[in-house]
């Protein structure tokens, strides 16, 4: 079945440094990839999405590029802010399912002053 791997459970970095959160996936089908962000005690919210190979997608200073050749959809930002501290989930849905999302384990990003 489908699976999503986020290798880092916790990423801690200093404000102003670049952010990169890894996401790789496995699926037998044509796929949509998503990044969701969850701040403390809030609902997960969509940050980015893509289904187009090698096309960069951007939102709120974050960007990601879907690379089907390496099955990756890494999340990046050039300069971390304190407000970026949150839980980040990578997820996929395949075109053959009724929008069922398969989530990774999540990466907690902690940005320090």
């Amino acid at each position: 079945g489908d699976s999503v791997t986020q290798t880092e459970g916790l990423v801690t970095l200093t404000e102003g440094l670049p952010v990169m959160l890894n996401c790789t996936y496995q699926t037998a089908y044509s796929t949509f990839l998503f990044w969701y962000v969850q701040h403390l005690n809030e609902a997960p919210k969509l940050l980015l999405k893509s289904s187009t190979d090698n096309k960069r997608t951007e939102h709120q200073g974050f960007h990601a590029t879907l690379h089907k050749s390496s099955s990756s959809f890494h999340l990046q930002k050039s300069s971390a802010q304190l407000s970026d501290s949150a839980l980040y989930y990578c997820a996929l849905s395949d075109r053959d399912s009724f929008n069922k999302l398969t989530f990774g384990a999540g990466t907690r990003l902690a940005v320090c002053p």
């Binding site: 609902a43 075109r95 399912s97 929008n99 069922k100 999302l101």
Partner: protein, 114 residues
């Protein structure tokens, strides 16, 4: 932006009792979902629901689970009877359509089964 509400935010019940988790989805959305997240683990799909029917369910969606949305009111997840392993945070989500359409999530209901 659009919001999904979940009631209650926390629920503590004794094993064997029935529990109903309520979700108020985005008003014009057509597809509804429940996800389960056990503490320290990833969020996992339980079920999706469209036009009054379950479209797809996972192996986590046991026989004791049921969903419904009577007359366009709350989208509910009922567990009867509950078991200790049902303790988790349950997230409701809704979307206008499938595919690339965003799923809007609620803040979750934390269920503790004693």
């Amino acid at each position: 932006g659009p919001k999904v509400l979940q009631i209650p935010s926390h629920q503590i019940i004794d094993m064997g009792q029935m529990v109903t988790l309520n979700c108020d989805p985005v008003s014009n959305h057509l597809y509804f979902y429940w996800y389960k997240q056990i503490l320290g683990q990833q969020m996992e799909f339980l079920v999706n629901f469209y036009n009054g029917k379950v479209m797809e369910k996972s192996k986590l969606f046991k026989d004791q689970f049921s969903v419904e949305r009577p007359d366009g009111s709350y989208f509910t997840l009922k567990i009867q009877p509950t078991a200790l392993e049902d303790s988790a945070v349950y997230f409701c989500a809704s979307s206008l359509r499938t595919g690339e359409y965003e799923q809007y999530f609620g803040p979750g209901t934390r269920l503790t089964v004693l």
